[in-house]
């Protein structure tokens, strides 16, 4: 199952990068994708049925919009902190408990947090994620959990779980 | 002509590293820098002002391509450079295992 999915993904990738539909190209691409699927199939992700559920794609598009908006906001926030003469930063590492369970959702969440300016994911240990934050706003765990991961977590839950 | 001289200075920096450093890793880095300067010199010899990369295109009329020959030679030289670097590193790590140091002079004194 995983082999077939990886084969199809690799073939589509091949056709995208070569961008020609001659017979020779497709045959060479199929052979290459077969080799790739045989070598890397056992390391590919599980739970492939999730690819076939259109609801997830819908939430993904919404999530993209939210993500871009958050990145824009954070950009202006960080730029303000850099330009301001007093440099109002209060860096620190906070520990946020995770609600999402599956690994790929956690990866997505960690990458989203890293790509937002001002916050960087340091590590995931157990069920907690450690985030380096340029301005730690409060000391209460619930508040910074909502501030750091809450804004992405509910959408990611709908996409990947 | 300036670029050739700059390239030669880069070579001399690598040579300086090989001659004066005592740490084996630094010596390997010096060798790499010398290699890089040689690649750059060869690639610069084949360059032609306003030339195109040597990949044929049908639609161009009277195209001027840069010289493919130095590029082909540098292509082989880069991989050879990787091979020699790997070999030097293997020898360095082996010496470290035996003597517990990367210092070549100390190794020379310890001997055996």
């Amino acid at each position: 199952m995983r082999f077939i999915a990886l084969f199809i993904i690799l073939l589509v990738f091949w056709l995208l990068i070569t961008f020609s539909l001659t017979l020779a190209n497709i045959v060479v691409g199929a052979v290459a994708a077969l080799i790739g699927a045989l070598l890397f199939g056992k390391y590919f992700v599980h739970n492939l049925y999730k690819f076939g559920q259109p609801k997830r794609y819908y939430w993904f598009v919404i999530y993209l919009g939210i993500f871009i908006w958050e990145v824009l906001k954070a950009n202006f926030d960080v730029a303000y902190r850099v330009i301001h003469p007093a440099m109002p930063i209060k860096p620190g590492i906070v520990r946020v408990p995770l609600e999402v369970k599956s690994e790929i959702a956690r990866t997505m969440l960690a990458n989203s947090i890293t790509m937002t300016p001002g916050t960087i994911t340091v590590d995931i240990i157990g069920d907690d994620i450690f985030v380096h934050w340029i301005y730690v706003k409060s000391d209460k765990p619930e508040e910074y959990a909502r501030e750091v991961s809450g804004r992405f977590e509910k959408y990611i839950k709908k996409i990947f779980e | 002509m300036t670029v050739y001289i700059m390239c030669f200075i880069l070579f001399l920096v690598g040579l300086y590293g090989v001659l004066t450093r005592r740490n084996m890793i630094k010596i390997v880095i010096g060798f790499s820098i010398m290699e890089f300067s040689c690649f750059l010199f060869l690639a610069m010899i084949g360059y032609i002002e306003n030339g195109l990369a040597p990949i044929l295109k049908e639609e161009m009329e009277n195209p001027v391509y840069v010289d493919p020959l130095p590029q082909a030679m540098v292509l082989t030289a880069i991989v050879i450079g990787l091979a020699t670097t790997a070999l030097l590193l293997a020898i360095a790590i082996r010496i470290y295992k035996k003597y517990g140091t990367f210092d070549i002079r100390k190794v020379n004194e310890l001997k055996g």
């Binding site: 990886l6 993904i9 690799l10 990738f13 091949w14 990068i17 070569t18 020609s20 001659t22 020779a24 190209n25 060479v28 290459a32 994708a33 080799i35 790739g36 699927a37 070598l39 890397f40 390391y43 590919f44 992700v45 690994e103 790929i104 956690r106 990866t107 960690a110 990458n111 994911t121 590590d123 995931i124 | 990369a53 990949i55 044929l56 049908e58 292509l75 082989t76 880069i78 991989v79 990787l82 091979a83 790997a86 293997a90 790590i93 295992k97």
Partner: protein, 145 residues
Amino acid sequence: MNGMTQIVKKVTQLMSGLIFMYGLYIITHGHLTPGGGFAGGAIVAGGFILLILAFGSKVISLRKEETQTSITESAALLIVILLALAGLFLGVHVFFNNYLPQGQVGELISAGVIPIYNIFIGMEVAAALLTIFLALVIYKEEVAS
């Protein structure tokens, strides 16, 4: 050698196949676009190195893998030499002769033996780089134990 965190592992699972595929694209289109056996082989080796670094050395049996890459390397080099020797006996009697029909410039199937050389040189480079890397990893494990 231990693996890295969940994040790196998951991204590696998604990306390593695509990196391998990109290496194959660079190799097979070496006579049309920039690239060729050397670059593509190095990229393919990079995909495997990423896998080993992310998942730690427990994921494969290193000794067996090293033997396999050694054999692949030797076989690929042997095939390159045999292909070159074949030029000595076919067509014009010159070592490294391009004896296959050359076809239309710019097509995927063209340039005679050059794509075949590319494929096997790519195999040789990838296997050689992997052998070097695996030798270092095995050495590290042995020193640590």
